[in-house]
Amino acid sequence: MDKTYRKERLKFWLIIGGLALGLLLSFVLSMCVGRYAVSFGDTFRFFFGQRIDDVSFNVLFNLRLPRTLVAVCVGCSLALSGTIYQSIFNNKLVSPDILGVSSGASVGACFGILVGFSTGLVSLFAFVCGFITVLLTMLISKAFGNKSNLIIILCGLAVGGLMSSLVGLMKYLADNEMKLAEMTFWLLGDLSKTNLNDFWVILPVTAVGGAIALILSWRLNIVSLGRKESKAMGVNYNAMTIILIVVATILTAVSVSISGTIGWIGLVIPNLVRLIVGSDNKKVVPVSMLFGAVFLVLCDMLARSIAPNEIPLSVITGIIGTPLFLFSIFKRRKDLQ
């Protein structure tokens, strides 16, 4: 009998149980809180299919339920994608945008808004452009005969910089005030326009991506040590890296195309989670997914309830994420010296 093994396993399941409960509570809270308050009683009656007044039903069914469900999936996807990228690139300061996916998606979305596409088409365009941007990054690094992850990261920075310039150009061209405001709101993250269709789009992506990441989570540790170490321990580095980058990219691209760019989650959540459960991805991956979901549900609840007008999500995630990130730096300050 190994005491450490049993103690670690018990701690892990307690954390998972606590976060699952936290997710349930934050979900219920998110359904109740907003400019139109719905009582806990009505919310529970709604969940159990009992009759409630029409206004509350409409608010819960048409507005808060899809929005909260999408927030769960987006939070989960962004935190997971950050965990994957940070491990693959052996760098805790990497965020999901490292290969340019968010900035590419922003170009697509801003272009869609500029030419007057419908909301659905804007999302589709954002997804396509995000994915093409990552392909472009990978192709350029391949053309440079990349032997190290540093070249991929540098190519990602270059391509991401180009995409940011194109976003600036779109904003410059958007002389119509409404379009510029719409672009700005999209670029700061927004779940106010989400509906159940968005949820049905993101749910399978999050579920499949999450399942693949959970299956490969322990091997992700070995991939983080690089090509040579992976080979020495019997792990197919190239196949694992490609699968995981594709998974992380699709998760980010779909999330960003639905919710706009939401900063901090992919960077902060994995670092906080490592402080709690250690660095083994077998634990970090599931805990980050749950933590990211709880975090975004609560941030979204604040975004629509603390001011008369809705506050963009990135503003809230930034205000909460910054002290949390500083806290994680403070805890690890000795490693950084």
Partner: protein, 253 residues
Amino acid sequence: MSNIIEIRNLSFEYEKDIKVLNGLDLSIEANTINAILGANGSGKSTLLDCLIGINKPLEGEIKIESKRVDDYTNREFAKKLAYISQSVSINIDYSVREFILFGRSPYLPIGKGPEEADYIKCNEYAEKLGITHLLGKSITKISGGERQLCFICRALVQESDVMVFDEPMSALDFGNQSKLLKIFSDLQTEGKTIVFTTHNPNQVLDLNCNVIVLDEGKVACFGKAESVITKELLEKIYKRPFGEAKKHYTFES
């Protein structure tokens, strides 16, 4: 005794027409300890990288137990050969226990992490190396020598038939170097084959193992250390005059 590693006519170059290995032939018997000696840039690490399949040879072939290296699946290969490289950059602070357990990877199916039996194995080998007190610490917060011992422990946990170490003693103090040489002898007794690179001919003489001397991308000499390592050979490969040692201390075995 049968040869566990067979290398025939191996050539490798990083840049066109500058061969680091040039038609190298080498046979290593099973259940032996083999030290690779050579000046900086003589191709020691390159040879090991070819052996584990990271470097693709320009010419020639490498066989382990009569099977070409490329014909093994990754996991089969890792069960056959454990490899510890010279330097690995680790920025994510895995605990020493988690890091050593990575060595169980070839035995764990995809989707599974280490189980209780793997933890027990990790404890056994850590005890053997005297590093149980490090198990709960972060791999990024221990000294270079301690980290070296953790890498070696990971290779032991991998339980492969052949263990290949690239300069395993470079960061170890005199006591730990001696301990490692003793572990090499024990592993040989258990039927393992050890291949390691070193810059210290005295360690090789202490161990009196096989020595492979590399020079200009080829095996210059191969044989028992006492018969191969001479003043003339050292002067030839290191291009420096050598004198006899005035005093030479070794630990009791």
